[in-house]
Symmetry: C2
Subunit: 144 residues, 2 copies
Amino acid sequence: MDISIDEFTRKIRSRGYKLTPQRRVILEILIKNKDNPLTPEGVYKQVKISCSEVGLTTVYRTLELLRKIGVVNHVHFHDGCDRYEINDGKPHHYLICLNCGKVERTNLCFIDKMQKILEKDTAFKITEHCLSFFGYCRFCQLRK
Amino acid sequence: MDISIDEFTRKIRSRGYKLTPQRRVILEILIKNKDNPLTPEGVYKQVKISCSEVGLTTVYRTLELLRKIGVVNHVHFHDGCDRYEINDGKPHHYLICLNCGKVERTNLCFIDKMQKILEKDTAFKITEHCLSFFGYCRFCQLRK
DNA sequence: ATTTTAACTGAAAATTATTTTCAATTATTT
DNA sequence: AAATAATTGAAAATAATTTTCAGTTAAAAT
């Protein structure tokens, strides 16, 4: 379920948006980091490494645009900043160690089932969700 | 599983913290708003209404302290600020309308089960989680 | 191909949320 | 009642994000 540039181009243009080089570069970086949700600042740093000139403001704007058209998910690690990751259609849940900050990703998921029941029960049309677990990783449990 | 002032006092003192009037007032406000996660600013406004003089800094510090001792949960609605709610031991999941901003709470929960399996699988010790659903409420679905 | 136009960009300024600092105060222990 | 270590709050600092606006550019129209 990975997104291709062609598909992305279609998605962008069909909504009256333009496919700019900046948007392309940002998308590529998110694809390269598919297992690692990035902050806007993080995306910006990687853009700079790949030498392209893209402003931080544009990074913020592009991430929000990508979220709106369903290409990325919004993730929170309770550390004071937003993170974004490519939406590959798979569940994307995290285990965040409150001690060392390590982040593990898990695919285990009851959420789809839960979402369907919720939609029936509440008449909400659910388009996104965000689930993170906080606690202590196996190493920090020993260290404490 | 509601928290009493006595229990709170014990929890605070046993860890070497002091039970100050400010902490008491903030706790009371969180209890009064048990179904409605508040931002630090939101807590601060309510403190002011009830006439008590408590600084915003103290609100921030107290909320973080309460989270550390397990009295409140940390919640995110992807709107740029942190929210806190009393931890009553029950699941606390939200449906947030991306259009009108309405927040519904649901008790439906597979999370406990998921958490147990995750702990076994990953050797993580999970102490908190945060789950929110985003989408469109029944009214906004029609309006769009 | 050229023109047109509405969308887009980026630097700087503004805003908002949160954290730090530090001197004065206060809850609890002795 | 005195000692002490934690706590408070105002102000300053920091960090994340948004807004503004003049100049640029992708894509539609000619």
